[in-house]
Symmetry: C2
């Protein structure tokens, strides 16, 4: 899919990021094309994986996930395959929704969702702290979130 994206493609990406369930008809109106070429462009963007997937965004609070945290993890590199061991463990923990390998004072940054503090303690005690390659970890409890764009900053 060598060829580059034009202005219209970027417009489509912007609109679909903001409204993933817009109809092709509405989308075609917004970008000023007829439905047929609009659909063709969307399919191209999907096939070339500029668009990876579509998702509903739910209200975590309403669904009882009252506790959200980031956990900073430092690993103990005195073992073999430290990182792979860690990643394998992380994959099995459903409360961890994000895992980033980062530079700085810690090695990994995790995002966690749980129901309440009791569940959080349980997660820490029975899962995180039992991962052998974890040297230290520190919790950053999220008190509030003032910005959370489901949209990546694209220029056009």
């Amino acid at each position: 899919m060598g060829t580059e994206l034009d202005k219209t493609d970027l417009q489509i990406l912007k609109i679909l990021q903001a409204n993933g369930r817009i109809t092709n008809l509405q989308l075609s109106n917004e970008i000023g094309l007829s439905p047929a070429p609009t659909l063709e462009r969307v399919r191209k963007l999907e096939n070339a994986e500029y668009i990876k997937s579509y998702h509903a965004l739910v209200d975590e609070e309403k669904l009882g996930l009252g506790i959200k945290t980031f956990i900073q993890i430092s690993l103990d590199f005195h073992q073999k395959n430290t990182i792979q061991t860690f990643l394998d463990e992380i994959q099995t923990i459903k409360e961890i929704t994000e895992c980033h390998h980062v530079t700085g004072q810690c090695d990994f940054l995790l995002k966690v969702y749980v129901r309440d503090i009791k569940s959080y303690e349980q997660l820490i005690m029975e899962k995180i702290s039992r991962i052998t390659v974890v040297k230290t970890f520190q919790t950053m409890m999220i008190m509030s979130t003032s910005k959370k764009e489901p949209i990546v900053p694209l220029e056009y």
Copy 2:
């Protein structure tokens, strides 16, 4: 909208989180209802804002956003309205896609997307470090992301 969610509603939420553009017809098959009540349930979930919105997920790399970081911010509380001043500034910076007020060694955790290191230096020099209420900040550059669920962990 007082009434609670049943198993079917949770199933719908799970499916729509994983595939935000599934047709109502497919969805109805997956949950074992006919299209009519399926649609009615989805609309209820939307109206009660269990579902907040729908989004396409794009490939940031392919779109030229090569640099992703977290920034830990500590504020200087020797001014009035420190936090509000900070939040107002953050809102104007499009490269910042997330802003969380957290507990721990820092006050805020930001998520940032930029094109390249040059743009990152520019962001730091011309925007972040010019916010008067910012005392210190530290970058955690994301080297890789091994987990990024667009789905919240729901039991059912």
